[in-house]
Amino acid sequence: MLIYEISRKGRRAFAQAPAAAPSSDSLPRRFRRQRPPQLPEVSELETVRHYTRLSQKNFGIDTNFYPLGSCTMKYNPRGANRAAMLPQFLERHPLAPEETGQGVMACIHELQGELAELTGMRAVSLSVMAGAQGEFAGVAMIRAYHDARGDTGREEILVPDAAHGTNPATATMCGYKVREIPTGADGDVDMEAFKAAVGPQTAGIMLTNPSTVGVFERRIEEIAATVHEAGGLLYYDGANLNAILGKARPGDMGFDVIHLNLHKTFSTPHGGGGPGAGAVGVNERLLPYLPVPRVAEEAGRYRWLTEADCPETIGRLCTFNGNTGILLRAYAYLRMLGREGATRVAEYSTLNANYLMTRLREAGFTVAYPQRRASHEFIVSLKGEAKELGANVMDFAKRLLDLGYHAPTTYFPTLVPEALLIEPTETESKRELDGFVEAMVRIREEAREDIDSLKGAPYRLPVRRLDDVKAARELNLRWEA
């Protein structure tokens, strides 16, 4: 039932709006709408009841193991939420004088520094609002760098074929052509193809390391040297930083610019699809181009660096200063982790992934790169199950939901057939991992015994499999009475 279906015309049960409706006659008639917008007319209790019940229809980290590959669904500390929602933080206007924001700016400034330290970059800007915006900022800085040098013939960005879709989409948004680099049989970049692709037309390369196939790109130093030699720059997609936090740093690998997803590695909530927060970090070379604003400290006082301070900046990417509330959560999390805690993130997320991969392999599932260490995630290919039992990735995914596990990422990366990309994260216990293996084995059993029944899953959720084709063909995007 929709909130609109609970609504009754003329219901006025709020303690939430100004008591009386002041006259707005001073607004000229020609600007005023004729028909009021139709919003729900419900009581506070009806609202609370409706959304409480709706929330219960969701899986979240707080309710279920959620091993969604490449999304780093780790525990979001409640202490970080409370800290970020202190009234003084919530109530500050973004254009209020800097004097009223020294507390929040101190947090942002320290976070800039800590992230630079963790990634080995020279400086970090936090005024980007999501990972994809961080990517955009990164590639825009590469472009600004070449442009500033008058090096305008570089039209291509190299992107591995296994990369996240945002990488090629971003390169296009920045006016570049995309050239895809194939992945070798061992999961690393195909070096021969890579070297053949690099040239004077190369503006840069976008890489994730560990890569989206879940392994560490071992020849990263050689890749970096090759690109730099050709005059290009290296962009690091931070989606998988969780795997190497405190263990290896993009800056040391030769990357010139990075973005981070704070909602992944730094455990801010995913919120049903955002808000996230990006961070972009650069080495000395790209420093002038960082997006504004950033926080600077001078003699214990914090102030915003703007266009006036950074004339070569690529500019602003948000109305104000970025997703401050998310930055505060990341800051709180990182302070609780500290030096040792940061390294443990990589250690235990890698441990969990390798353990789960081992257990699934022992249970007879096919792992995509069995000769490699898993990073914080790994791929199971259900090609065999699909062929022999008729049970594909979607069938396993839907049945996992029935058994209380959120599905891993499905059909990605596309170069592995029937791929499940599995990322357990460090905050899950061995008990959950063992339970997941049992569930996978059980589903395979069920496929053997009654494939039709399996194809009907899920059975225990608020709805069964949804008709996506109907949704797209007979578009219904809003309620109508």
Binding site: Q16, E41, R82, G272, A342, S429, R464
Partner: protein, 460 residues
């Protein structure tokens, strides 16, 4: 180990299962040259107790005075239920609803949100939100250029009455795609676009015209004429609106003869805390026939295997994870949690509640203007109708006056002279429904004292 559940015994069992002796062995594929040294720039970890103490100390530095600043972010009352519900773990800790069957909560919320945005803007199709108001406008500009089949131009008219920050952000984002932003001037008697003065932009083709309502200065634009003018040139009309104002103002879908084509704006006024600037959310709606050009997530209604109603992400073929370099945008997150809050906020207020909020903002701002302009030398910069913001000329430099107001517990508006030095000292002031008469009187008294009190400085 904060947040890591492994016992020593489990660790050993797991290492044994994997076949390595120590965790360190799991990192043996990373070249030793790349292994990090100690992270000396990071402090040791602290417990939640110490963290809480630290954050409260920081927060207490930031006590906030009575806020008369608007300029794109507004101090509205947010009912307690909004965030008590929004931070429920099932909303807070879920991801993008890829597995629709396990995400009906989030999906239905978005569907309800889309309905609300559609109602407010008078356009059929809403997306599930974008990052903020400025990026929503940038996406709207990109969309319009993509969608305009009649005019194959990359020129977009961007009036000076659009928020300066929005104009900057749009420039940053569209710069690399060859799009040209044409700045249209304002009529500086009324602080809005002069429809009569637009003739000179008719010579070259325009893909789109951006129309703010209310505009950056709080003034109401002649949206009907502007929309019809744009359509006369076969340009698309992009509306940039304050969603609270839309409770009272003509919705973009009804502007002019045929309505605007795209509406977008900043969602912060709908239940999102000011929070130094974010997270907020951008909204965007469009006509039904343009929906396939709409960027961002979209939720549709459908049925399940048993014929029951359900909700799912739809039109995903537009998106980056399918289309890669040919996607309509690189966007992959929306501002889901903010949309959850906004949906609950709008449900709590309802039609009448939102109208009352809008009307109270308007009335409080009228009261504010009335009381401030009673002070000698303070006067409105422009005539003409406004919603809940007004620029005021003051007889002393704003950067001298504002700190004196702050000392009296008043944030006295935005200093306009940085962006618009041509008008001399001026403040852009705003009074939402949360500002009381007492606070307005305090502002007036403090301003009067700052300008004419015994302690005033000489000024030219």
């Amino acid at each position: 180990m904060p947040f890591i559940p492994h016992t020593e015994e489990e660790l050993q069992e797991m290492l044994e299962a994997i076949g390595v002796e120590r965790i360190e062995g799991l990192f043996d594929e990373i070249p030793s040259s790349l292994r990090s040294a100690s992270l000396e720039g990071l402090a040791p970890g602290m417990g939640e107790m110490a963290l809480t103490r630290l954050m409260r100390t920081r927060a207490s530095r930031d006590e906030q005075p009575a806020c008369f600043i608007g300029a794109g972010a507004y101090d509205h009352h947010v009912p307690a239920a909004v965030w008590e519900l929004t931070t429920r773990g099932e909303f807070y800790s879920a991801y993008t609803p890829y597995q629709a069957e396990a995400s009906q909560g989030t999906l239905q919320v978005i569907y309800e949100f889309q309905t609300m945005m559609s109602e407010l803007t008078g356009l059929y199709a809403a997306n599930a939100s974008l990052y903020d108001g400025a990026t929503a406008l940038a996406e709207a500009v990109l969309m319009a250029v993509r969608a305009n089949r009649k005019v194959k131009s990359k020129r977009v008219l961007m009036p000076r009455t659009v928020h300066p920050r929005y104009r900057e952000v749009v420039r940053t984002i569209v710069a690399n795609q060859g799009i040209e932003l044409i700045e249209a001037p304002l009529d500086d008697t009324v602080g809005r676009i002069d429809p009569e003065a637009l003739g000179r932009f008719e010579d070259e083709p325009l893909a789109a015209v951006v129309i703010p309502q209310p505009n950056f200065f709080g003034a109401l634009e002649e949206v009907d004429r502007l929309t019809d003018w744009a359509h006369g040139l076969n340009a698309l009309a992009i509306a940039v609106c304050n969603p609270v104002a839309l409770a009272l103002l003509t919705p973009p879908g009804e502007w002019g003869s045929n309505g605007a084509d795209i509406a977008c704006g900043e969602g912060q006024p709908l239940g999102i805390p000011l929070a130094s600037g974010g997270p907020y959310f951008g909204f965007m709606t469009t006509r039904k026939d343009l929906v396939r050009q709409l960027p961002g997530r979209i939720v549709g209604r459908t049925v399940d295997a048993d014929g029951r109603t359900g909700y799912t992400l739809t039109l995903q073929a537009r998106e980056q994870h399918i289309r890669r370099s040919k996607a309509t945008s690189n966007i992959c997150t929306n501002q889901g949690l903010m949309v959850t809050a906004a949906t609950i906020h709008l449900a709590l207020l309802g039609t009448e509640g939102l109208s009352r909020v809008a009307a109270a903002c308007h009335e409080h701002t009228r009261e504010l203007v009335h009381k401030l302009t009673a002070i000698e030398g303070v006067e409105r910069l422009f005539d003409g109708p406004f919603f809940h913001e007004v620029p005021l000329r003051i007889p002393a430099p704003a950067d001298e006056v504002l700190p004196r107001l702050a000392a009296e517990g008043v944030l006295g508006g935005l200093d306009l002279s940085t962006e618009f030095p041509e008008w001399g000292p001026a403040l852009l002031v705003c009074a939402t429904e949360t500002r009381t008469s007492e606070e307005i009187d305090r502002f007036a008294a403090a301003l009067s004292e700052a300008l004419h009190g015994s302690g005033r400085r000489a000024h030219g």
